[in-house]
Amino acid sequence: MADDKDVLRDVWFGRIPTCFLLNQDEVTEREAEPYYLLLPRVSYLTLVTDKVKKHFHKVIRTDDAEEMWFEYEGTPLKWHYPIGVLFDLHASNTVLPWSITVHFKNFPERDLLHCPSHSVIEAHFMSSIKEADALKHKSQVVNDMQKKDHKQLWMGLQNDKFDQFWAMNRKLMEYPTEDGGFRFIPFRIYQTLSDRPFIQKQFRPVSPEGHVHTLGDLLKEVYPVALPTEGGPKRFQVVIHGIEPLLETPLQWLSEHLSHPDSFLHICVIPVPSD
């Protein structure tokens, strides 16, 4: 079990080296130096980029500055997806560090949500947790928690406190032993090629016959295209937290250990790089 705890720590402390560059179109008083950061995979862009904002505010006229937003190779980055998901989805096979362009103008209203303060992130985060618990325990666990318990979850994420977060999150991961798992596995499958933002369906961790469902079973059920065809070349990578778990991995275990702090198992299906 010590391995499982290590897996949780590795998932929590996963980092992506990132280089923030100011958009060339921004009016600056002098040339802006790039800013480098190690972004936590489990956090949100707008939650960890206060330093970036401060850095670039030094060089642009502050009265010109509007809400900061980020873009990678022409794609606006949605702050309400975890950072790891954004990276895996858009830049998993590129050269590191991940170069993100910072904008202070022309906010893409169609693609992005506004994020005026951290309380918006908190609201989004808590709503995800509640949704996931509705799937896992019919909301029983999260409703039994007190306000301060909810706060503890959020503060654990905001301040990158692993122990503080998991002291409370442990309750959300419990299930009756006789059931063999959660009611439904809260998961989301992201893909680059579709207009749909993600796939989310009700899927039980154990089959009616009592077999343990695996990652492969899930994909076969909801997104069979992602599976390698018999004898054909591998066309898609199934990436969680920057790694490709074996398809035989039990889904319940994945949900317990490889879920993001918002209790969802975010799975990215990306095409295999051509080269």
Partner: protein, 565 residues
């Protein structure tokens, strides 16, 4: 823990996917994290350092002169600033001294302030207590005010009632006065008529008297020359004549008076025949007449009442008024139809039995008269609280002798030429009226409240405040004394009157407990006790000369007639 259920599937397969994940994660971190960690940290630190250095660097040589100029300007500025610094330092010094001064003052003021605070707290405490007291007083005051209001309304009602009552009383008094006036007028007219009659009578009877007693004739002349118009003298003259006539020709009335004689045996009373409220206030004195058919009572209500003793009951016959204060003592004239009373109004009064207006009023004492007795030779002897005994001549209606006694005289009796008086100084004194001196002083045990002499004039009974009756043998010179006491007998007042039975065998006295006590003289023991009829202290008893009845009276207006069956 959660994967426990999954382990059944096969340890090898289970560890494979787990190992794969752990390995992948390590690989991922090595590639993405570890390689860049230090690099990014150093870069960030470098960036912070560069941001601290001046951002802009002038790059032109031609700006040297500008720099020099700037330098000069800066020097000037430095000088100015130095000067300002000096000035400011000076100001600081001044301010510091001021500040020090103020600190010193503040330190001086602080104890004062503290003292003031303390006294303020103390005063606040006092204010609180005083306020509490005031609240309590206020509530008391309110209660009192309420009571006062109630009392005032009551007072007003009472005043109104008092006024009404006063009106009623005044009205009644007026009626009474009118009645009295008419009565006086009538009496006056009657007296006028009587006077003219007497004059006629005198002139008519003069020859008879002259023939029988020339001496009296001269006396009569003397009176006439003194004052022919005085009604009192006239009446005394009339009495004289009556008396003289009585001596010469014994009338029917006088036969009656002297027929009774001495009682041979007194019978012990046993039963109360008649109980009545005889007066309006307490009764002080009671006395049978010599025929035992008439009873006189005198009370604090100023009246002397006469009662017929007939068939075992008392019937009111007449009320004799004239006294302006309470009556203290009553005696019937053994030789005539007259009754004598002593009064609180410093006088003694004499009535005829058929006239409610006093015939003679003897005035001269300076305090209340406690005893009045008939003596020898138409004399009356009175004892008084003014420490005198006076002898009065009834014919002249004046005082003939004043005997100064050493103490308050509470009662007296007459026997021959002797007067025996009882006093508050616990002495019984025997006086000779002819020599006007005390011939004997007998001791008693306490204040003497009453005296009584036996009909044969052999024994004297005295009642004292020490609840003891004393019987003194008057025969011989030895004055032997016997004391009579009884359990329960208590002398109720300073004027309680005890009596000897007419046969001299018994003594009767009323006690403070409302019972009549009767002793046997020969055995010296208590013979009987008559309780339950009186509710207050008995003031006097009287034994009828016939020996048949005893009457007791008390201070709550009640009179009880006792008899042996």
């Amino acid at each position: 823990m959660a994967s426990g259920a999954l382990r059944g599937g096969g340890r090898a397969a289970e560890t494979r996917w787990r190992r794969h994940i752990v390995g992948q994660l390590k690989l991922r971190d090595r590639r993405q994290h570890d390689k860049f960690q230090d690099l990014i940290r150093f870069y960030t630190r470098l960036l912070e350092k560069t941001s601290l250095t001046p951002a802009r660097c002038p790059s032109s040589d031609s700006s040297l002169s500008a720099l020099l100029h700037q330098n000069n300007q800066l020097k000037n500025t430095t000088g100015e600033l130095a000067y300002q610094v000096v000035q400011l330092q000076q100001q600081i010094r001044v301010k510091d001294s001021v500040l020090d001064e103020q600190h010193a003052r503040q330190q001086q003021e602080e104890p004062l302030l503290q003292g003031a605070f303390d006294s303020r707290l103390a005063l606040q405490g006092r204010v609180e207590t005083v306020r509490g007291d005031m609240g309590a007083l206020k509530s008391d005051y309110d209660a009192l005010l309420e009571r006062q209001r109630g009392a005032e309304t009551k007072l007003r009602e009472e005043k109104l009632r008092g006024g009404n009552l006063l009106q009623d009383v005044i009205h009644l008094k007026q009626q009474e006065a009118a009645n009295m006036n008419t009565r006086n007028e009538r009496r006056c007219r009657a007296r006028e008529a009587a006077r003219s009659k007497v004059t006629v009578e005198t002139s008519g009877s003069a020859p008879t008297s002259r023939s029988s007693s020339p001496k009296r004739e001269s006396e009569r002349r003397l009176f006439r020359s003194a004052s022919a118009t005085s009604p009192r003298i006239l009446s005394s003259i009339r009495a004289l004549f009556q008396r003289r006539r009585g001596q010469s020709v014994s009338s029917l009335q006088e036969d009656q008076l002297f027929a009774v004689g001495v009682c041979l045996s007194a019978r012990l009373p046993v039963r109360a025949l008649h109980v009545l409220e005889a007066h309006e206030q307490g009764i002080n004195a009671v006395r049978f007449n010599s025929s035992s058919e008439l009873l006189a009572t005198g009370g604090t209500d100023r009246a002397v009442k006469l009662w017929d003793v007939r068939a075992g009951s008392l019937t009111h016959r007449a009320t004799l008024d004239g006294s302006t204060e309470g009556v203290t003592c009553i005696e019937f004239d053994p030789k005539g139809p007259r009754v004598l009373a002593a009064s609180y109004d410093k006088s003694a009064l004499l009535w005829r039995l058929d006239d409610p207006v006093p015939k003679v009023t003897l005035t001269g004492h300076s305090r209340k008269v406690t005893a009045a007795r008939f003596g020898l030779n138409l004399q009356v002897v009175t004892g008084s609280a003014d420490r005198t005994i006076r002898l009065w001549d009834l014919q002249r209606a004046c005082c003939v002798q004043v005997v100064e006694v050493p103490s308050y005289c509470s009662d007296l009796v007459c026997t021959g030429y002797c007067i025996i008086s009882g006093h508050y100084d616990s002495k019984i004194r025997v006086w000779d009226t002819r020599a006007v001196r005390c011939i004997q002083e007998l001791p008693a045990h306490g204040k003497v409240t009453s005296l009584d002499i036996s009909p044969d004039h052999r024994h004297l009974l005295s009642c004292c405040r020490d609840d003891c009756l004393q019987l003194i043998d008057l025969r011989g010179r030895s004055y032997e004394r016997v004391c009579f006491r009884a359990d329960g007998f208590k002398c109720g007042s300073d004027s309680t009157k005890a009596v000897i039975s007419p046969d001299g065998c018994f003594l009767a006295a009323g006690s403070a407990d409302g019972a009549v006590y009767i002793w046997n003289v020969s055995t010296g023991n208590l013979e009987t006790r008559l309780p339950d009829k009186h509710s207050t202290s008995i003031s006097a008893v009287s034994w009828s000369p016939s020996g048949e009845y005893v009457v007791s009276v008390d201070l709550s207006r009640r009179a009880v007639l006792w008899r042996d069956f």
